[in-house]
């Protein structure tokens, strides 16, 4: 029984990690290549969810909605890059933080105006509603397995693009040595637009995947973006592999902390206090890990190949 619970929780942690990876992947590339701190990256997560939700009700098909919503989110990302991000790449990080903080407010209120404050629940097709039983005691929602599958497929795809294609080569070169790529006469501006929009679309995909579980809501991206930053700092800015492993570490810590920490705390404090403290302390753990990594190995666990 105990091991069955542990396995279930590990799968839950994996699913959370995969989701974090989808948000962190674009963030780490944008950060690594353009040296651009994009707090508004989480907004694409939200916008993807809302676009997808709207399409689900129009088309009556979740899969079709996702397939259409991804390119639409890509367009939103592209427009945001052209209108705002592009003009401040050259500025310092402080300006990035402030401008994208402003973007968050604009996106959040925009969604409020367009879709209202009440959030949007997204129905799943029947074939995703059930559970998959691995044994009599290990039973996992099929939809969560679907998230894991989609996430792994995207991760694999990204990995192949980054390692095997010409664009990927430019991305890698950009992440480790920006001036070199520019000096080669590559149209760096288009590369930036492409990476930004693709990152937005992947984050949007994550939002689409989570909203049948938690509903789409205003501000959903702001909760995840800070954790996504933790992920890319742990993994190493600019590294897809780092983002993947960082996301899994954070997903596991969070899930296992919520599962087991209260039992640990009950040994040393009252039940009531343990139940209050455990979730907060498990949330704290990831920041402790991040601070430790920054202090000891600021470049992260898997920094992109050094220049």
């Amino acid at each position: 029984m105990e091991s069955a619970l542990l396995i279930t929780q590990l799968l839950n942690g994996l699913q959370l990690g995969i989701l974090l990876f989808l948000v962190a992947a674009g963030l780490t590339l944008i950060f690594g290549i353009m040296d651009f701190v994009n707090l508004a990256h989480g907004s694409f997560y939200m916008i993807g969810a809302y676009i997808c939700g709207t399409l689900v009700y129009l088309l009556d098909s979740f899969v079709l909605a996702v397939i259409l919503a991804v390119p639409l989110t890509l367009v939103v990302g592209y427009v945001a890059e052209r209108l705002v991000a592009r003009s401040i790449y050259a500025r310092d990080h402080l300006d990035h933080v402030l401008a994208t903080f402003g973007l968050i407010l604009i996106f959040d209120t925009g969604v409020h105006l367009l879709w209202g404050a009440e959030g949007m629940s997204i129905p799943l097709p029947d074939w995703l509603q059930g559970q998959v039983a691995f044994s009599s005691t290990i039973e996992v929602p099929s939809y969560r397995l679907a998230i894991i599958a989609v996430g792994l497929a995207v991760a694999l795809g990204l990995f192949l693009v980054v390692t095997k294609t010409r664009i990927g080569m430019l991305i890698r070169a950009g992440a480790s040595n920006r001036t070199m790529v520019q000096a080669l006469g590559i149209d760096i501006k288009n590369l930036f637009s492409l990476v930004f929009a693709a990152g937005a679309a992947i984050a949007g995909l994550a939002g689409m995947m989570i909203s049948p579980i938690t509903e789409a809501s205003i501000g959903m991206g702001n909760d995840i973006i800070i954790v996504a930053f933790v992920v890319i700092i742990i993994g190493g800015i600019g590294s897809i592999k780092g983002a993947f492993i960082g996301a899994l570490i954070v997903g596991m810590i969070d899930t296992l902390g919520r599962s087991y920490l209260d039992q640990l705390f009950k040994l040393v404090m009252s039940d009531q206090n343990a139940e209050t403290a455990a979730p907060a302390i498990s949330a704290m753990l990831i920041y402790i890990l991040m601070a430790a990594i920054l202090a000891v190995r600021p470049q992260g666990l898997f920094p992109p190949k050094v220049r």
Partner: protein
């Protein structure tokens, strides 16, 4: 130096702002608008915090994304003793300064080993730790926050529960902090800090232990923010971990940048404009369409974006350019 050189747009605005702020209790009484004294008090307290942040951000080039934690620590340094019925302000204020200085020393010693965006992130990490720590403290209300049933007790005849008296305590604190920061920035210590911002290697080569200088600046900044927090605790009579979330730290940074990070007085303009915008954008929007005020984040976000894109040096920089013209 002749007198006319002093009459610059910036100095005139500074004088006007300080005079109006100084007269706020009188003005709000005459117009019978006690609520605006509340806004003014909040402005003055946050100005203390923003000006302290500016010491390291504007002059030292250290972008701390976690300064709200110090404000929160300062406020809890009032709230927790009062929870145990220790009412003396001679305990609260020194405690607020000491604990936030200590927190700044420990976190600063680690954070300052990093640079640039890593520094931003590690300061955010430390403030999130404090945020979650207070969230986990069931005894002090956790997420529900802690009600402060009394104000700090200082001298007889200096009752902090009287809004005007309290306002003047805050106002005098602000003026004191601004003068202190002015002295620090223009001292030899301040020149090293500023020099290290633009060229750390050169400062190190000149034999200055820049790490230690920066750490001292970080501790001073944190301690002053803690003091602002103690004032805040007395003002709101309520504290919750929410006060130290990363969003609040971001707001503090924005106030500094909006006002102009290159000047001592800049953050005061920044806080002033920030809070007035926050207060009156919804009202103005409601004038156009009833209920539109809840969407005030939209124009607010646009203003934020425009300031970053087009107004270099914030309000203070703008006034300086007027002077040079």
């Amino acid at each position: 130096m002749n007198l006319s050189a002093l009459i610059t747009p910036k100095n005139l605005v500074t004088a006007a702002v300080l005079i109006v702020l100084g007269l706020m209790p009188v003005l709000t009484t005459v117009f019978d608008q006690p609520f605006y004294l509340d806004i003014a008090t909040r402005i003055v307290i946050l100005a203390v915090a923003a000006a302290s942040l500016n010491l390291i951000l504007g002059f030292g080039g250290m972008i701390s994304f976690g300064h709200a934690a110090f404000v929160g620590i300062g406020a809890y340094a009032v709230g927790i003793p009062i929870y145990y019925e220790y009412y003396s302000g001679f305990l609260h204020f020194p405690l607020a300064i000491a604990v936030s200085a200590l927190f700044a020393l420990v976190t600063g010693a680690i954070s300052l080993r990093t640079k640039g965006v890593h520094f931003i992130m590690i300061t955010m990490a430390f403030s999130q730790m404090i945020f979650f720590l207070f969230l986990s403290l069931e005894e002090y209300g956790g997420d529900d926050g802690l009600l402060i049933w009394s104000d700090s007790e200082l001298f007889d005849g200096l009752a902090l529960d009287d809004p005007s008296t309290f306002y003047y305590v805050c106002f005098v604190s602000l003026v004191g902090v601004l003068l202190l920061l002015h002295r620090i920035v223009n001292s030899r210590f301040g020149r090293v800090i500023r020099g290290a911002k633009s060229n750390e290697k050169r400062m190190s080569a000149l034999g200055y232990p820049t790490y230690r200088y920066r750490l001292v600046a970080y501790v001073i900044s944190g301690a002053l923010c803690g003091y602002a927090g103690a004032l805040m605790g007395n003002f709101t009579n309520f504290i919750s971990p929410d006060m130290m979330g990363w969003g609040r730290s971001g707001e503090l940074i924005f106030m500094v940048v909006l006002g102009g990070s290159g000047s001592i007085i800049g953050p005061v303009y920044g806080v002033l404009s920030f809070l007035l915008l926050e207060e009156f954008i919804p009202d103005v929007m409601d004038l156009f369409a009833d209920g539109a005020g809840v969407y005030w984040h939209l124009p607010f976000g646009i203003i934020l974006l425009l300031v970053v894109l087009f107004v270099r040096g914030g309000i203070s920089g703008f006034l300086n350019r007027l002077t040079k013209r």
